[in-house]
């Protein structure tokens, strides 16, 4: 009898351990749009990069997997007599799949030393856009500098020293300090290729990160195609050039339009919107008008054709090594060393639902994690090997949090220990998810800890009672 009961106690104990093992990590991590939470099914992805230069131009070539080419973005569908928007930034993937793929690259020349150690983490500040505690549009608009001077409506990436207090997005440094920081090169150059808003016209957005993420001086490669007052598009497709005034919604929704079809609207293919035309249910007009950029904003172009084929994007960007705009761009020189960090948006996801890299060293003709090869002529031969980079989902990890008591590595950051010394991309992806559920996971963990201790003690009580004076 005692032996049977010891068996029973053992089965109960081991059985509960087994149940705990197979159910652990469940029940807490769930998507919650109200809290701006969506956890991607894949937390890491590969990116391949090559770099080359000829003394005048710099080339970066990017290749990454994507189940399908995300070339549609921000559409207006004629629906019930009104133009209805589909494809704005949402939490996680856009439900109709209408959101463009993107590749971005932050670049620094050493003027921002902490970027080489912590990469893009330094740009993730307090109450960022699409974080659970994001600052409201009204708060940002009301800000005397970010709202009134910089026309911001959300807290976007910014550099830590542009704030007096890194824990407060609103504590912008005095404008004379900002000007001095900018002149000292304290900003990150941001190359920003967009599959819909720039690629069709062979362009790339050219931005920078300073007191906010914003475009370089000059005209961007796209603008809004929406007349807010009239509640209608400003332009429609030119039927003489495209054979149509609008796209068909079904073609967009079922992804029938490819690179050789009309799937965007540009200055070349647009005419003023005709409100008197008998628009039909399902007529669809892109909400972004592509245009020829200018000034510093138009420094980066697509070399060749940016195309998706057999499950991979293959994009090459080109820019003058010296753009002549040193307060907008990082000027590149032969034998120079730099730091870059990459990000990719895919699967119809925008805003913070991207995969990012840790900082990668770049050497122009010098040994580095990514070595740019010097060549002669106008087009790189691309005969070197790819540099493989693992991108990861970063979650809601901010620079203020990393420097706070909540991060065990805050002291290491203060000492200047690089992130790669202690963390891998895979590890950071898991941490990024857990940060989004920090309080819930902590309380569940404490209950699990206590439950386990009590279970062990109860097992001891059972054995003590069941083992007789002469054993069993």
């Amino acid at each position: 009898m005692r032996r049977m009961l010891i068996y029973l106690a053992g089965i109960v104990f081991v059985g509960v351990l087994f149940v705990s093992w197979i159910t652990h990590g469940t029940g807490v991590v769930v998507n919650d749009a109200d809290r701006n939470i969506y956890i991607p099914s894949e937390l890491t992805m590969p990116l391949q990069v090559m770099a080359a230069y000829n003394g005048r131009d710099m080339f970066f070539r990017y290749r990454w997997p994507s189940a399908q080419p995300g070339i549609y973005h921000d559409m207006m569908k004629f629906e019930g007599g009104k133009w209805v928007r589909y494809g704005s930034s949402v939490v996680g993937p856009q439900p109709q799949g209408i959101y463009e793929d993107r590749v971005t690259m932050m670049l620094d020349d050493g003027s921002v030393p902490e970027f080489a150690r912590y990469g893009g983490y330094i740009t993730i500040g307090d109450r960022m856009r699409f974080f659970t505690d994001e600052a409201s549009a009204d708060e940002v608009r009301a800000h005397p500098y970010l709202g009134a001077v910089r026309n911001q409506t959300e807290v976007r990436k910014y550099m830590p020293a542009t704030r007096v207090d890194i824990d407060d997005w609103a504590s912008v440094a005095p404008e004379q300090d900002l000007a001095a920081l900018r002149n000292a090169g304290y900003f990150l150059d941001l190359w920003h290729w967009r599959a819909h808003r720039s690629n069709p016209i062979g362009a790339s957005d050219d931005e920078s990160i300073f007191d906010a993420r914003s475009g370089d001086a000059g005209r961007s490669p796209f603008t809004d195609n929406w007349d807010a007052e009239a509640q209608q598009p400003r332009f429609m497709l030119d039927p003489d050039k495209t054979g149509k005034r609008a796209l068909a919604w079904d073609d967009v929704a079922e992804r029938r339009l490819g690179f050789d079809d009309v799937y965007f609207i540009s200055e070349e293919t647009a005419v003023p919107f005709d409100a008197s035309y008998a628009w039909q249910e399902g007529d669809t007009i892109p909400r972004r008008l592509l245009r020829q950029g200018d000034g510093s904003h138009a420094d980066i172009t697509v070399a060749g054709l940016g195309r998706w084929e057999d499950g991979f994007w293959d994009i090459t960007l080109r820019r003058a090594m010296d753009t002549g705009n040193p307060t907008d761009d990082k000027i590149l020189v032969d034998k120079g060393t730099y730091t870059v960090a990459f990000a990719v948006h895919r699967d119809a996801s925008g805003s913070r639902w991207h995969n990012v890299s840790l900082p990668v060293s770049l050497g122009l003709g010098r040994d580095a994690e990514l070595t740019a090869v010097r060549f002669s002529g106008a087009t790189p031969p691309w005969d070197q090997a790819w540099t493989d980079v693992t991108l990861f989902y970063p979650g809601q990890v901010s620079w203020p949090m990393l420097n706070s008591a909540r991060h065990a590595g805050a002291e290491s950051i203060a000492k200047g220990v690089p992130v790669k010394f202690r963390h891998s991309p895979e590890q950071l992806a898991h941490y990024g998810v857990e940060v989004e559920f920090a309080d819930q996971i902590r309380s569940q963990w404490m209950l699990t800890l206590a439950g386990g201790v009590l279970l062990i003690l109860a097992f001891g009580i059972a054995l003590n009672g069941l083992i007789g004076r002469k054993g069993v």
């Binding site: 005692r2 093992w21 065990a408 941490y431 699990t448 097992f459 003590n464 069993v472």
Partner: protein, 185 residues
Amino acid sequence: MAAYHVVLVHFPIALWLTATLAILWRAISDGPLAKAIDRALVPLLTLGLISGVVAFAVGTQVWPWEAISSTPLGRNHVLLASWTVAYWAVLLALRWLKGEAIWQGFTRWVMAALALLGAALLGITGTLGGHLVGIYTDVSAVLRLLGWEVYTTFYVPTITLWVIAAAIVVLIVLGLWGNRRANAA
């Protein structure tokens, strides 16, 4: 305090692993050497528990509670350390209270199984501690293959907590029943 914690954890690790070997030997042998080693088991387990508690206490001072309870590796290390200390305390209590009866018949194999489980807990706790200070082993890869990514917090859902609560009640009832039977006899 990190350096002191690293120094101190060597004592319970050494003592509990030695205790594991002692228990395994005694489980398979009734020889004079095995019996002699068994007589040292209670002091061994007592020293192990004391040094384990001290190492645990010092470990809680390495990082602020807010930091250690916010990081998955920190949480996991605290959780496994708590379970390990509790587990070896139970083994000490059993040997102390039951004396040589635990080596009679079937019970010796129960003790052997418990010792192996205790060593496994100890090994996982140490592995997690190594990760915390940047020293990695492939034990975490084994755990990953078995279904636990050590870079995620080990916690169970509420339904499993209720299962654990029910199991605790059952085990305590079994123990009380056994005690009553023993006293009646």
